[in-house]
């Protein structure tokens, strides 16, 4: 079975990925991105294994959203630094994962 890879972000940032065979999904703001991800999780004709999302959209995810995205084994929803550079969200997310598992942030 073949899985799809998608990337969500502002149009200018992500369109380069289309040449690599990644499905590009433009979104302007966080709500739109969340809606798109929900849609992708629901669709049955295409199964997405990895959904990349640029940090500027991901940083305003609510906790409920994050929980919902983390729940299933697939897809993996991975924030990426955008063309504005890293906002530190991804690192913070990683720290949160560690904190959740261990009880305190041991990566520092």
């Amino acid at each position: 079975m073949n899985y799809q890879i998608a990337i969500i972000g502002s149009k200018e940032a992500i369109e380069g990925f289309s040449l690599l065979g990644v499905k590009t999904v433009p979104a302007q703001n966080t709500e739109e991105a969340v809606e798109k991800i929900r849609e992708m999780k629901r669709s049955s004709d295409e199964v997405f294994a990895i959904i990349f999302i640029t940090e500027d959209l991901a940083k305003d995810f609510t906790q409920d959203d994050e929980k919902f995205f983390a729940k299933d084994p697939l897809p993996a929803i991975i924030p990426l630094p955008s063309h504005h550079g890293s906002t530190g969200y991804s690192m913070e997310r990683l720290s949160r994962i560690v904190e959740r598992a261990v009880g305190s942030d041991i990566l520092k």
């Binding site: 990644v22 990895i50 990349f52 550079g85 690192m91 261990v102």
Partner: protein
């Protein structure tokens, strides 16, 4: 310290003793599971951090290259250049079961030419940018894999830790307290019965 709501009878005592035993057994098993998960988690999480740092650098670079390239091109030309991708990505996913957590392993197969645009209207910067993106992409897949693994393990670890703690600090002490309570109650009843019979006996002897 809380005593469960049970009748202090022999039946209840037997039942509770059984429950203490199985709770202790469950606690041990869960603790082992927690240790196993933790070991696995520790192995990957440091790699995850390293990989994440690498990606931040590479991708920021690649995005910048792409933006600069697109700034030099006409909107229509860029649209045109990007409009006919031929490369196909085949991603296969295998899942491995670690302590009943299913963690994914991604495997990427690329096919086809990436640079499916003509030389006219495009520039060398675009070539460079696409190369950079392509190079970064493999690491991105690895990152996705390892972060998803870490995430899945973290969720399971959290629930397991809660269960272990609940058993260790709540269930087992409560059960043990209740067993003790019933035992005291039963002993007390036994003593009171003996005293009762002794009293009766003494009265009968006094009357005779």
């Amino acid at each position: 310290m809380a005593i469960l709501n049970v009748n202090p009878t022999r039946m209840a005592l037997l039942d509770l003793k059984k429950r203490v035993k199985s709770a202790e057994r469950g606690h041990k098993l869960l603790k082992d599971k927690q240790d196993g998960l933790m070991k696995h988690f520790m192995e990957i999480v440091r790699d995850a951090k390293k990989l994440r740092e690498e990606v931040e650098e590479m991708l920021g670079d690649a995005f910048k290259k792409f933006l600069i390239a697109s700034a030099w091109m006409k909107e229509a030309d860029l649209r045109n250049a990007l409009s006919s991708p031929q490369a196909k990505l085949a991603l296969s996913v295998k899942t491995k079961n670690v302590m009943s957590v299913r963690i994914p392993f991604f495997e990427l197969e690329k096919e086809g030419e990436i640079k499916t645009y003509g030389y006219a209207g495009t520039n060398a910067l675009l070539d460079e940018a696409i190369d950079a993106l392509n190079e970064a992409f493999e690491i991105l897949i690895q990152l996705a894999q390892i972060e998803k693994q870490a995430e899945a393990l973290a969720i399971e670890l959290e629930t397991t830790r809660r269960r272990v703690n609940a058993l260790e600090h709540k269930m087992i002490p409560d059960l043990k307290d209740t067993v003790k309570y019933i035992r005291l109650k039963l002993d007390e009843g036994e003593r009171s019965a003996i005293i009762g019979t002794m009293k009766v006996k003494a009265q009968i002897e006094a009357a005779a």
